[in-house]
Symmetry: C2
Subunit: 388 residues, 2 copies
């Protein structure tokens, strides 16, 4: 026992929290894990302990009593330093329900085509929660900053999670996104009504509806308005998209734009790949659909015959406007199975409120980092013998 404790002290991950046993790890240190797909779509709001975990570094140990959030315009005096208590007592509390997706969600499908650098995520590096806290606009105003007038181009966020070199995780968003969402971006201290769990950013996470998880910095302790993008590795040399002829020998990260808003995605969570179906006549297919930029889901098409015929799925309305649909749409469809086949491929594809659709194939969007994997989702299943 003593030896174990000693080892934990040396292991930078020794202070990581315990995780739910149902989570399926994509890596242990840093810890990254996703819930089983069938549990994922069990509820519109993902329970905190099943929410996918995407950590880049060890989970920091933070004392809420001494913690503070710094807010400033780069190279200017002024700004503010806010305690947790300030945030909870001096500002109105606002809640927003958003879906967060890792840019690497569904990367495993890209890896099958050609190897990529990144965690082998399945289809569940995506989850939904109701976040509560203080709007970015309120915090900036309190700090003497008018976001509509400030002469800056980016809003930088810094976390308290640190690498061995002492560098912390950081990211930024363009000022245009910050301005248009100033009352929807939230410095959150609650996740589904509870203190944010340590794995998800305790005590503070910045929630930016409609954009990639990578910019929604956890363990947030600095907001800096700047003329420059975040200089962090993850902003500059990661989380960008390239075409499929770019690989590590010819990539130039400075030529691509940082991923912010995400494109439309959907996935089949039930049945699972390789499953033997129970019924020979029809199958009930369930899944999620989501798009970035607040675009709602207009339609989900499902096929049980490899794409020959399509059926429109029933959407469980999320009650959000199609132009401020920050959260996913869960859906299901019961469709006839092809007769006298032993196997078939189930497919889903979604349409958002800008009538964006998903690309047909993974081949066409393959990229060296395996991000933005949003092709039609295909699941092969076995059909039982018809007993009639």
């Amino acid at each position: 026992v003593e030896e174990k404790k000693e080892a934990d002290k040396k292991d930078p991950y020794g202070n990581d929290p315990k995780r739910h046993p149902a989570l399926k790890p994509a890596s242990e240190k840093p810890f990254n894990a996703e819930p089983p797909p069938s549990l994922l779509i069990h509820s519109y709001l993902t329970p905190n302990d099943l929410f996918f975990i995407r950590n880049h570094l060890p989970v920091p140990v933070i004392d809420p009593k001494t913690f503070s959030l710094q807010v400033a315009v780069e190279k200017e005096n002024g700004g503010a330093k806010l305690s947790l208590d300030d945030l909870k007592s001096k500002f109105p509390k606002k809640s927003v329900t958003t879906t967060i997706q890792c840019s690497g969600n569904r990367r495993s499908e890209m890896i099958k085509i050609k190897s990529v650098k990144g965690l082998n995520w399945g289809i569940a590096a995506i989850s939904t929660a109701e976040w509560s806290g203080v709007t970015l606009d309120a915090i900036l105003k309190h700090s003497g900053i008018d976001i509509d007038k400030v002469d800056c181009k980016h809003v930088q966020f810094e976390g308290m999670d640190k690498g061995p070199d002492g560098a912390t995780y950081g990211a930024s968003i363009p000022i245009e996104i910050a301005r248009s969402l100033k009352n929807e971006i939230i410095v959150a201290y609650k996740m589904n009504g509870k203190d944010i769990p340590r794995d998800h950013g305790y005590p503070l996470r910045i929630i930016i509806p409609g954009i990639v998880g990578a910019r929604q910095v956890k363990w947030l302790n600095k907001i800096v308005l700047s003329k420059e993008e975040s200089s962090s590795h993850w902003q500059q040399r990661d989380y960008k998209g390239f075409n499929s002829s770019i690989d590590w020998h010819n990539v130039d990260f400075s030529k691509a734009q940082a991923i912010q808003e995400l494109p439309i995605v959907s996935a089949i969570c039930e049945p699972a790949e390789g499953e033997m179906l129970e019924d020979a006549e029809e199958v009930t297919i369930k899944g999620y659909a989501w798009s970035g930029g607040g675009r709602g889901i207009y339609r989900v098409d499902v096929s049980a015959d490899g794409g020959k015929t399509w059926h429109e799925a029933d959407l469980n309305s999320n009650n959000q406007s199609p132009y401020k649909a920050w959260a996913w749409t869960l859906w299901e469809a019961t469709v006839p199975l092809p007769k006298s086949s032993k196997n078939t491929q189930l497919i889903c594809k979604a349409i958002d409120s800008s009538y964006n659709c998903q690309p047909d194939s993974v081949e066409g969007i393959w990229n060296l980092r395996g991000v933005l994997s949003n092709a039609w989702h295909r699941v092969s299943v076995t059909i039982p013998n018809d007993q009639r």
Copy 2:
């Protein structure tokens, strides 16, 4: 001559204006036409006489002296009636450069798969102009209407073009779009600095950046804020998207959402389909890319070998923010041709600021009205013998 005049009087299209001879008609009555693709990309702003024409009905004859624009909230007193002179003299003039695309642009590619109902548009039912006029917000305020507070869900627009039944063309947009674009939506009286030509809506057209042409009503004479969508045929039973298993025997227009914001599109304008190239080693490919909702173009990928390898095109910056990119991006790329091939397929596909991509195939997006045709654009060309 007399007989011709007599016939013209009976022909509802007898008063239509003369058109530029370079325009290629998709239909004569009503007149619909597109410019040659190589002319289309000759300039960032499309010359007025080459701008694609999409008329649903005869071009109305309008006297600018007696013309007025009515503005009202449905079932309420108040509102305003504005003359052309009022619009030009009582309000600040605002200009916005936008690309307008017909929902049927590139329909000809869908028709090749399976017949659809609609005009056989090529790739040039899209054009760009600088529009000048009065913002929707200014006009509504002048009319005593606060768009952020009014208890309405849609903004309806009515034109003066009439069918044989007396019904006028009409359309509407959701209040959310009107609110977020209240200072970018323009009641335009100028197109590229000149009076709007009769084919394009003289004297007034509503310009709504980032959305489909069908809602940008020409010959505009009524703006009505309402709890309901426009009841027009084109809003209710047309210009909606369906999956490829829906055809005229099973379509239910009430189940789909009216097209508003458009998805990402791009096309190769040079070389043309079937062209014999001049050079055996490389080819210069030129085209346009555009996305709805103000999403700018982040990348255009071009292939000269049917999609085996991709090259990033050079983008001609349009100087618009990637989140308010209302106008297209013209691009070009010079890429090597496959060796010892007599024929090859050129392809382009684009990425917008939400990292949306185009679908790989027309098959996957085929729909009974042939709208939203934004698959990878493919052009087959012949390669000359290498003389070296």
